[in-house]
């Protein structure tokens, strides 16, 4: 019998739980749910995505459509997705955990994130570069899971490589780009979406990766963009594209940009500047701000959403804000009016 031995160490118990979940994935495949494989490239690494059955694949894969790449024999990370209802397996859940709002996070030899309300389970074994993502049914893959799949797992993996997942939007060109940082509602997503179809490429509206090797580079993760009703009224050029996008109960929609703006999507570029949007100006304007100000805008919102490696996350973000100039961007009610300023920053023509 393969059960959890509660007399074992904490690490051994979490490893055992991981093995049980992994066994459930393989059982799903052995029961006839065809395994589909896709490969994506992020920051020079290749990640293999495998899906037991196609129910989740249809929901998850579009977010990564712009960074799909050729198969490799030895990927840098493998992420396995499945849901119990479609595949007919019964993946173990932690019934000892309380049925409460939020996320239970286990930070042991393997990392486990358990969402009791949605029944979603994410597990990562850094020793095998293997991640597991299980949902009770495909309906449980929520709006957020479709917009930013596996973002915690990707954070745990990237942190081991010194790469940082950041709560930020990003736009630019192959020669250079800018990152827009700030809490939800600060205008970063709407401003980034306003760049779709402009001279600027689109990398992210909410989460991107930053590598800091010799010079900072920003990397796209998701081809998605989110907008609520207020943002949609400010972005008339996107209304047709958003009209068919999945909608949340509060009216927020997620756009799969690869379906509508493939030519606008940019995989990666050197980072030229960090921009903190501020709403409420008559005309868009830029002003230099101290690096510490930018750190206050980017670090807490990144750290609160991404459990694990928080001290290292803050250290990497501190190094990041010191490596490029930081600006406040005063935004008017017309998000398109800010695009020329972002283009100048991306080209390094404002310092």
């Amino acid at each position: 019998m393969i059960g959890l031995d509660l007399s074992r160490s904490r690490d051994a118990r979490s490893i055992s739980f991981f093995e049980l979940a992994e066994a459930a994935y393989h059982e799903a495949v052995s029961r006839g749910s065809e395994e589909s494989r896709r490969y994506i490239g992020i920051a020079g690494r290749t990640i293999r995505l495998t899906f037991a059955g196609d129910a989740l694949e249809r929901l998850i894969a579009p977010a990564f459509a712009h960074i799909e790449c050729d198969a490799v024999e030895f990927p840098d990370l493998t992420l396995r997705w499945w849901d119990d209802a479609t595949t007919g397996v019964s993946t173990p859940e932690p019934p000892g955990a309380q049925p409460r709002t939020g996320l239970d996070f286990v930070d042991e030899a393997v990392r486990i994130a358990w969402d009791p309300a949605r029944g979603s389970l994410s597990l990562y074994d850094p020793s095998r570069q293997l991640g597991l993502l299980r949902f009770p049914d495909s309906d449980s893959a929520t709006f957020w899971e479709q917009a930013a799949p596996a973002h915690r797992l990707l954070h745990w993996w990237a942190a081991g490589l010194g790469i940082q997942l950041v709560h930020a939007a990003a736009v630019g060109s192959p020669d250079g780009g800018v990152m827009l940082v700030g809490r939800g509602g600060s205008g970063k997503s709407t401003t980034a979406l306003a760049c779709l179809g402009s001279s600027l490429g689109y990398l992210a509206d909410d989460y991107c990766m930053i590598s800091l090797d010799s010079a900072p580079r920003v990397h796209s993760l998701y081809s998605t963009g989110k907008a609520d009703l207020t943002s949609l009224r400010m972005l008339p050029s996107l209304n047709d594209a958003f009209a068919s996008a999945p909608e949340r109960i509060d009216g927020k929609r997620v756009l799969f940009c690869a379906w509508h703006f493939q030519a606008s999507l940019l995989h990666s570029c050197p980072l030229r500047a960090i921009v903190v949007p501020r709403l409420g100006a008559a005309e868009p304007a830029l002003a230099r701000i101290p690096a510490a100000h930018a750190l206050r805008m980017v670090a807490p919102s990144t750290m609160m959403q991404l459990p694990g490696d928080r001290a290292a996350t803050l250290a990497r973000l501190a190094a990041l804000v010191k490596s490029v100039p930081c600006y406040e961007l005063a935004l008017s009610t017309d998000p398109y009016a800010a695009v020329p300023l972002l283009a100048l920053l991306s080209r390094g023509e404002i310092v």
């Binding site: 904490r10 739980f17 066994a23 173990p92 939020g102 042991e108 809490r183 803050l314 250290a315």
Partner: protein, 144 residues
Amino acid sequence: MPFRINTPDVSHELVDGEVIVVHSATGAYYSLSSSAAVIWGWLDRGMPLEDMANKIAELNGEPRESCLAVLRGFSTELEAEGLITPLTSVPDGHAVLAGNDGAGLIPFEPPRFEKYSDMEELLLVDPIHEVSSHGWPEKPAALN
């Protein structure tokens, strides 16, 4: 009296003379500048408040006891925020106070911090509970 920073819940970084402190458990974050940034660095190195008071008095010609009173008030505020915890003894290997040229301390302004609470709402809506795997389930019958 020395203190320790309440890691791992509390993370901190110094950027251009300003210390940014993030309390992951409460969602609050803080900015410490000038004398507060210097004193935070000393707290992180396990310096007793009494040694700090000696140094500040030496640099500024202020009465040592008044410096110590200010430091005690500041440490009490930081402790109330859950950022530091008093230690019963000076930690081994702590650095001496030599090397500070007085930057941020001359003239001596009472240390203060700015607190930002806008992220606390996010944690209330979508909290993260750090737990251990202790007590997690036996394998369900379907997988036996």
